[in-house]
């Protein structure tokens, strides 16, 4: 370490004596206030390598989205030998399996799901692996052993959906920077010390923690072994930019070799790597072309991460996403910007390699970001629609850390210090229908919630409905909390994320990230009941099948407090209920208003709602207003969403926003200026998240009809981005039907 500090002219601090990457950043960050003019195009090697990848990606698409599957090996950190794309051009090495885009089996989340995914491709899991699971238990089995009938009913009746009970939960972000900064040996030594400290009188928690740390130490040793198979020694700290990028990637690679969690973020590595890169540039070891090559090739690898998924999975998470989310930018508490030249280099990959949904590049937006960076972000959004934005000023101050990444799509997570347990989401419109149907599910009349009075009112009364809905939400929260307790207990027990956890403090704080879908339908429905006359149409069993609405009513998305406050109120009621319940490992409840692409699936499972939405019609994604109801223009729509209170939805409030390029201004310069002003204004009102698409509907329609012409067309959906042509046709149509803000 001493040599490193001297040779790199690093500033020392507490980071040297304890594991503390945050302090390393504080001491050594090289903020950059300039513009994008220093950036360079791809190197020769990068171009050669990406050509090979593009060919394989095309084959993958032609082969129904999956190029190959290894059906013999259970994937873990060391189970596959080294894999290369084209060795002579590969600056940054490491693949999940021994072949490009070959998918592997990670069955400890649920062997059944793996078997069906393999079967869908006309293959069969090897007898050996099937036999192993005659003896070994997996997460999926264990959860269902512990579930009660209530949870099963809530689940099968689509009140709680997408629960990670048959697949891996994901969302845990390892601090992959630690591999580069400290080297594995030091990390093992620290973990051993941590383990020793868990001593004296034992408790369940202590025994569990001792076992967990032991698993982490084994994972660290495996990482070293895996790296060595590529001829790379990661036992000691990285000493060059090349090593820093390579080591960080090998840390991440270890995680995605062993886990196939729904979303496995990268964290916030760009400005950390920048310290090494700028150092090597200043010392004349590398030039800008090589610096960009490292980042291009790193990002290329991240684009090639694949997990084995069954077709059904696509309904919730359309487009085969992996959420390799990298948070870029933001400010430090001390006022310095975390923007570095390497922040720019990451964005530049969208030009050097073309647009792409992964890694899920997320800009931590602050009013104080350097103008040059703001302008470049806006330009990249306009050119590629591949970025999302989150409010750094809000998260940094509300949540406390200035060293955080984004878990999954939109959720704050302090890196290396805290984790979160993924909670899928509850279907709020379904809950509203339960409260209008005496606790019975509207499709088949199955009793889901008890103690809800039958409602035989001709015209729905707002106060009566709110009372009944409140009671239902309390019940939903109770059952939801119970299911999450079981799921995370079992996931830790049977599919523990030892690779990520090895790179996180040994006993981190945990958020349990609950979710809610359909907030705009709830707001509009309750608004209709309050301001218009809503009469339920009931079938012979007394179940609502439709609603007659007499008169107009304010709709979410028009900057109208009468309805926007309803959305606020319901969010608060739900999180308050969730906070009443016990959680696994004493985790802290948070809530997201986020749907991924499941808004289509939620819609198809939900009957007609009092806002006039017909049965089976898609929900709006995330916290979006319903399509076509935000009729007062873009600003009114943005204002409504920005009123949702982050304190009540700390896991994130997702808004996906689509603008026609021309509507942003007459030329690129104007468009850039207007987009940065828009972002400043939106986040200045304490809004949390914005997905920005800048594209024409005609482009999407053409891509729908001629997918072969749009291999890299990327669009932002709810909290992530996808290759448009890899979405199902149903999802494509849903995206096309969304509000395009043109004549605003």
């Amino acid at each position: 370490m001493k040599n490193l500090v001297e040779s790199m002219k690093l500033n020392v601090g507490v980071w040297k004596d304890s594991i503390n990457v945050h302090d390393f950043i504080l001491q050594n960050l090289k903020s950059y206030e300039g513009d994008a003019s220093f950036l360079v195009g791809p190197s020769y090697k990068t171009i050669q390598l990406w050509d090979v990848c593009k060919e394989s990606l095309l084959k993958e698409r032609e082969n129904d989205g999956c190029l190959a599957i290894d059906t013999k090996v259970i994937s873990n950190i060391t189970s596959f030998g080294p894999g290369y794309i084209q060795k002579e051009n590969e600056t940054i090495v490491g693949l999940q399996t021994d072949e490009l885009l070959k998918r592997s089996m990670k069955p400890f989340g649920g062997i059944k799901l793996v078997e069906s995914a393999v079967a869908e491709k006309g293959l069969k899991v090897s007898d050996r692996v099937v036999d192993i699971f005659n003896y070994a238990k997996n997460h999926n089995q264990a959860v269902f052993d512990a579930y009660d009938s209530e949870i099963k009913t809530f689940r099968s009746k689509h009140v709680l959906t997408g629960l990670p009970d048959n697949y891996a939960r994901g969302r845990i972000i390892g601090d992959f920077r630690r591999v580069a900064l400290y080297g594995i040996d030091r990390l093992i030594a620290e973990k051993k010390l941590d383990k020793v400290k868990v001593s004296d009188e034992m408790s369940d928690a202590k025994v569990r923690l001792r076992e967990e740390i032991a698993e982490q130490i084994k994972a660290l040793q495996d990482m070293k072994t895996m790296a060595l198979s590529y001829g790379i020694d990661i036992s000691k700290p990285a000493t060059t930019a090349h090593e820093a990028v390579q080591f960080t990637y090998l840390g991440y690679l270890s995680a995605v070799k062993e886990q196939d969690g729904a979303a496995m973020s990268l964290g916030n590595v760009s400005s950390f790597l920048d310290v090494y890169i700028q150092n090597d540039i200043e010392s004349g070891i590398i030039d800008e072309v090589l610096a960009q090559e490292y980042i291009d090739q790193f990002v290329m690898k991240l684009r090639l991460v694949r997990h084995l998924r069954p077709g059904a999975y696509d309904a919730i998470f359309g487009g085969d996403p992996t959420w390799v989310t990298e948070a870029i930018g933001g400010q430090l508490h001390d006022g310095r910007t975390k923007v570095t030249k390497t922040s720019f280099r990451f964005l530049q990959t969208l030009y050097n390699l073309g647009a792409s949904p992964e890694p899920n590049l997320t800009i931590l937006w602050s009013e104080s970001l350097p103008q040059g960076f703001k302008d470049f972000c806006a330009q990249v959004s306009i050119d590629t629609s591949s970025l999302q934005y989150e409010n750094d000023d809000l998260m940094r101050n509300n949540r406390g850390s200035d060293d955080y990444g984004i878990a999954c799509c939109v959720s704050y997570q302090e890196i290396g210090k805290t984790i979160q347990h993924f909670g899928a989401r509850a279907n709020l419109p379904k809950a509203l229908l339960l409260s209008l149907n005496g606790g019975r599910e509207e499709a088949e009349g199955v009793q889901v919630v008890s103690g809800i009075s039958e409602m035989d009112d001709e015209v729905l009364d707002y106060d009566t409905v709110m009372k009944s809905f409140g009671k239902t939400l309390a019940e939903v929260a109770r059952v939801y909390a119970k299911s999450m307790y079981i799921i995370h207990y079992m996931h830790d027990k049977y599919y523990y994320e030892r690779a990520q956890m090895a790179l996180i403090d040994s006993n981190p704080n945990i958020d349990i990230a609950y979710g809610a879908a359909g907030i705009s339908i709830i707001a509009d429905s309750l608004s209709a009941i309050k301001y218009a006359k809503v009469t339920p149409v009931r079938n012979e069993y007394g179940l609502t099948t439709d609603f007659n609405i007499d008169g107009d009513f304010p709709k979410f998305g028009n900057d109208d407090d009468r309805v926007d406050t309803i959305a606020q109120e319901v969010t608060k009621i739900f999180i308050d209920e969730l906070r009443k319940h016990k959680t696994y490992k004493n985790s802290t409840p948070t809530l997201s208003l986020l749907t991924i692409t499941s808004n289509v699936m939620y819609g198809s499972n939900t009957g007609a709602t009092p806002d006039g939405r017909k049965a089976a019609e898609a929900f709006a994604p995330g916290a979006n207003p319903m399509h076509g109801r935000d009729v007062n223009g873009a600003i009114a729509s943005l204002n409504s969403v920005s009123k949702l209170n982050y304190n009540d939805a700390q896991d994130g409030i997702s808004y996906t926003f689509t603008m026609v390029p021309k509507s942003l201004g007459n030329n690129l310069e104007e468009q850039v200026a207007n987009l940065t002003t828009t972002l400043d204004a939106y986040f200045g009102r304490n809004a949390h998240h914005l997905n920005v698409n800048v594209l024409n509907k005609e482009t999407l329609l053409d891509a729908y009809n001629h997918p072969e012409n749009y291999p890299q067309l990327t669009i932002r959906v709810s909290g992530y981005a996808v290759n448009f042509v890899r979405l199902s046709k149903a999802h494509q149509l849903e995206v096309i039907s969304r509000t395009f803000h043109d004549t605003m």
């Binding site: 223009g633 600003i635 943005l638 007459n666 030329n667 207007n674 002003t677 204004a681 004549t743 605003m744």
Partner: protein, 258 residues
């Protein structure tokens, strides 16, 4: 439907707090700098053959809104105006409601909101001058420099329009000139030279916008059963637009094609 010249003074004299508008745009990026709320007022005396909003001509059409309502709408959007945006009043022809707009612009200025007026320059009186005093940026549409062509194109002369330009210049406050480029109607090279030369000594012109004619307004003419004379007029070619820009640039700075 036929719209003869109307008693447009009616528009100006009615209740001072009520403005007759055609529609509102909340994220305008094409009528003045930055992001703007654009108020399209109702009523116009010009009968431009290429009018994109023929439904905004009739002084009895549109809806009445209070100045207060417009100001409160603008305030809700103020954050998005940033450093350069604000409110633009376009039309229709705003000057037909000049007295009311004086009131509106005063209110906007009280809240620190930038004001912009997009006008064909139809009326020049003391009220117009007062309004222009409160106008941070004037967008003046000079539709043709030749009197006869102007009349053929709009049914009226450009005399007042040019006088307003002259007045604006005398006040030293900034303006942008706008010119709709219509093949066969406003593309004569001699007149392009004359148009730009007319303003070549002006110091207050900060930008000149050439707006290419398009057929997007056509369906509105059909909807209103009005005879549309430009059915067969094509959109201008890039070459023709670039040529016009080059000619304008001989006399004027900062010429752009929209």
């Amino acid at each position: 439907m036929y719209l003869p010249e109307q008693d447009t003074h009616l528009l100006n004299e009615f209740d001072i707090d009520l403005l007759r508008i055609h529609s509102l745009e909340t994220f305008g990026t094409h009528d003045g700098p930055g992001i703007r709320m654009v108020v399209f007022v109702q009523g116009c005396q010009f009968r431009c053959l290429y009018c994109q909003n023929p439904d905004s001509i009739d002084i009895h059409g549109g809806i009445l809104v209070t100045i207060d309502e417009l100001v409160s709408k603008a305030l809700k959007q103020k954050a998005y105006f940033g450093k350069v945006g604000g409110v633009t009043v376009s039309g229709g022809e705003p000057l037909l409601q000049r007295t009311k707009l004086i009131h509106l612009f005063d209110c906007l200025h009280e809240h620190g909101i930038n004001t912009c007026l997009d006008s064909n320059g139809r009326v020049l009186d003391d009220n117009t001058k007062e309004l222009l005093d409160r106008t941070d940026l004037l967008l003046l549409d000079v539709k043709h420099i030749n009197q006869e062509w102007h009349k053929k194109l709009t049914s009226l002369t450009n005399t007042t329009t040019l006088k307003i330009a002259e007045h604006r210049e005398s006040t030293g406050k900034p303006m942008w000139l706008r010119y709709v480029f219509v093949p066969g109607w406003t593309d004569q090279e001699e007149y392009l030279h004359e148009w730009a030369r007319h303003f070549s000594d002006y110091k207050t012109i900060k930008r000149v916008e050439i707006i290419p004619f398009h057929q997007l307004g056509k369906h509105k003419w059909e909807l209103m059963n009005m005879e549309y004379a430009l059915t067969d007029t094509p959109s201008p070619t890039t070459e023709a637009l670039e040529n016009a820009k080059a000619i304008f640039s001989l006399y004027l700075d900062n010429v752009t094609i929209k």
